[in-house]
């Protein structure tokens, strides 16, 4: 179905009206463009101490000298960096008065994902009652956390309350000069989450941005810092399965994980940002730098389910610095219509007896392009390093593409590296078998895709896994037959 320009224009116009972006909201937005004054102003707005302002300025100076990278296997129109407003206060005013005003398509998706009505309101930006269940839940949770000495707050709060921790660890895993988008983020990051687990503490619940009810709307340059002190454990959830319509086109987040000796961090992401419409117009650019460092006997495990964004460009990585440390990466990336994803991981083996596992499942449908790009590097001192990588791609339809770019660099003879990749499609016989048992084709495909992704879905926390499974079904709807 081809859109005429007229129709598209109309649609875009109505869309803007429909959601009322920027209208009728008391905005506290900076003028467009980026220079040192803007960086200073952001820092001032956040009431940051002098060292933080300097740190931001230094990042900005580094960023100015850098060039936008072009090596990824994606095509897009580069964002105009001087045409973005770098600060917009979270709007407190709800977008809608009741659920009836919300896009019915969105509501339908909520319903199918099984999200409770109150949460639906919250997610869609509808005004909610103060005594909403999850708020009280959140408060109880916060109390429990505080009892154990766990710090879980926004980045801005952490800079004010715990400057010594932030100062010590920020930029220690992803330095300012790491890459173009990390430098940009370091200069202008709006807010984000900060988490510190003290020595030997096992965090009693899944930490999630979901429950930080009052801190929503952290903006497009999110900065997350998770520190697990010696012998501690934390499981952190980011994002949610509900489709989120975001007005910011460019997202450049930085996530840093620090697992000290014997600590373990489990970081799970579900990302379902607006992928653009069926013709590939609009959609979010998701350029994220995620990296964790493992000290002795530590373990970092990344799990991600990527179904949204027009362009996803991210490589959650592990630096296995300490001896006996473990890195894991489990990923499902689904692309449909005109989506493009270039995602994977880096496992840098520095310590002895380090182990890493990579399981990546790519599913492409429609006219999308899905790439796996990974690096397994074993340095000469990393004796007995062990890696197992598996990346499987599933193609649906003949207009999509699946690409694999694994890099394996080994400088130690005791290393054992295995890598395997396959590309296949859903077999006609498999579908036929399901049909024969009375399962219609759409259901059959969902069943097969879930089987294909099972190894990764299993790694997600229970309640997330159920939603993620449904999300996969919805993302691939209408891509076959």
């Amino acid at each position: 179905m081809a859109y005429t320009e007229e129709e598209l224009k109309k649609e875009l116009e109505t869309k803007e009206y429909e959601y009322g972006f920027y209208t009728d909201i008391e905005s506290d937005t900076f003028p467009k463009g980026l220079d040192e004054n803007i960086v200073r102003a952001i820092s001032k707005k956040k009431e940051e101490p002098e060292w933080m302002t300097e740190w931001r300025l230094e990042s900005f100076r580094i960023w100015k000298k850098m060039e936008e990278p072009e090596w990824a296997n994606i095509n897009y129109k580069k964002p105009e960096f001087q045409d973005i407003s770098y600060y917009s206060a979270p709007n407190k005013k709800p977008k809608y008065e009741s659920l009836d005003e919300v896009d019915p398509e969105l509501l339908d998706t909520f319903k199918r994902l099984g999200i409770p009505i109150e949460e639906q309101k919250k997610l869609a930006g509808v005004a909610v009652d103060i005594v909403m269940d999850s708020v009280s839940v959140a408060t109880t949770f916060k109390k429990t956390l505080a009892e154990r000495g766990i710090i879980f707050c926004s980045m801005a709060e952490a800079i004010r309350e715990h400057p010594e921790l932030v100062k010590k660890y920020i930029g220690s895993v992803v330095p300012q000069k790491d890459n173009f988008y990390a430098a940009l983020n370091s200069a202008v990051f709006s807010d984000g989450s900060f988490c510190y687990i003290p020595k030997g503490v096992r965090c009693p619940m899944e930490l999630s941005t979901y429950f930080r009810i009052n801190q929503a709307g952290t903006g497009q340059f999110e900065r997350t810092l998770v520190i697990a002190d010696e012998g501690s454990y934390v499981s952190y959830l980011e994002g949610c399965t509900a489709p989120s319509r975001d007005e910011n086109q460019l997202h450049a987040a930085v996530v840093e994980l620090i697992a000290l000796d014997d600590a373990e961090i489990k970081y799970s992401t579900v990302q379902n940002w607006f992928p653009g419409n069926k013709e590939g117009k609009g959609g979010v650019f998701n350029f994220v730098t995620k990296r964790g460092i493992c000290e002795k006997n530590a373990k970092i495990s990344w799990t991600q389910v990527e179904t949204g964004s027009a362009i996803t460009w991210k490589y959650p990585s592990c630096i296995l610095k300490g001896d006996n440390s473990i890195g894991e990466f489990y990923s499902i990336a689904v692309t449909n219509n005109y989506q493009q994803a270039d995602t994977g991981t880096k496992m840098i083996h520095l310590g002895k007896n380090t182990r890493s596992t990579i399981i990546s499942k790519g599913i492409s449908a429609g006219r999308s392009q899905n790439s796996y790009r990974g690096l397994v590097q074993v340095h000469s001192r990393a004796s007995n390093a062990r890696n197992f990588s598996q990346c499987d791609s599933l193609l649906m339809g003949n207009q999509c593409g699946a690409h694999t770019f694994p890099y394996i660099e080994v400088k130690n003879k005791t290393a054992q590296i295995e890598h395997e990749a396959t590309t296949s499609k859903i077999g006609e016989d498999q579908i036929f078998y399901c049909n024969q048992r009375g399962i219609d084709t759409e259901k059959a495909i969902a069943l097969i895709v879930n089987g294909f992704s099972k190894e990764v879905l299993n790694k997600l926390p229970m309640e997330f896994a159920v939603e993620a499974q449904k999300l996969l079904e919805i993302s691939l709807e209408g891509s076959v037959g």
Partner: protein
Amino acid sequence: MDLKEKLVSSFLAFENTIDVDHPVHDIRSEAIKTFEDKGFPGRKEEAWKYTSLKQLQKTNFSIFPKEAEALEYRDVKKYFLHEIDTYKIVFIDGIYSSYLSETTHDGVDICLLSAALTKPMYKPVVDVYFNKSAAKDDSLTSLNTAFSKEGAYIYIPKHKAPIKPVEILHFSSGSESAIMLQPRNLIIVEENAELQVIERHQSLTENEVLTNSVTEIFAGANAIIDYYKVQNDMPGASLIDNTYIDQKGKSHVSVHTFAFGGKLTRNNLNFYQNGEYVDSTLKGVTILDEKQHVDHHTLVHHRQPNSESHQDYKGIFNDRATGVFNGKIIVDEIAQKTNAFQQNNNVLISDRATVNSKPQLEIFADDVKCSHGCTIGQLDREALFYLQTRGIPEKEAAALLMYAFANNVLESVRIPELKKRINKLIAGKLEVRLGFDL
């Protein structure tokens, strides 16, 4: 003056030695422009990430060798597959040696590219094939095209097969302290025809040699080609080998690369499948020690449905050797029912050896079976122990296991004498004597 400037400026001198009115001259002029624009590839380029040509560019290579001294057959006999009768096309320092060669025009043409490029009777064929499958935008291939003058020319017409294999040998005599050679081969095998080729580059002294070779191979429908590359050169010799293979329907082409030595070896092996039911086989054994560097860069481009490709590369790396494998499979949207397999296994036997492997898949068709596997590991301790309990010394036991490891690749060598020869080379490389042939 660096090597690039030297090459570009000597192109003018080169033009004096050739016929500038010849149609091929336009191709040459075009190519030198491409090279001038692009220069030597640097490590910032993705395809050259793991192989640096920097060192080579600093060497003062002589580009136009003087007339080489004649070599005695008995001195170089060991480099020929002398156990069997073969056609031979031999070059010494890039210049054809009629004394050592054995060519033919009896039904098939096995002769020289210089003849094919200048004699009118070959013009119809040269017009159709010369520089048609070689990449126009690749700087090193363009450099070779610009200076293309001499090399092997093989033309096998429909339904023919030469009675014996063809050997192509490039000797460098060491008469210059450093020499750069740019041989160019053109091989055309028409419908239902067959050909076996053994190619070898051999330096006879420790002097530096840089060979930038381009081979174009065209396989017609149902054609069968076996191509063997033996690379066991002196420590001063570097080789950049660019091979382009164009396959028509139902043709079978296999290329075996045995990389056992040389200072730096880069094999750019490109297969383009332009027909249905095509079979491409790429196999390689790499055994390196000291500071040797071998980079296998393969491309299989599936452009038509129902075809297959098989890649199997094994590597054993000792001392400070570096091995690179970069295999790329592209399956076009139309190439449904493609089966593409790629395997790369490596064994590191020294702490200072390095392996960089990058098996790559780019797939645009949905009804395909594609897989790649890559492993890096070491010899199985238990297997080693078992052999030792049976009275086999550790060194021999390790060699036996490595033999077994490389044997998959050798299995498909169809010239028995060549297989024996390769086995001997492997044994020599592993410094063992086994009382049997595998």
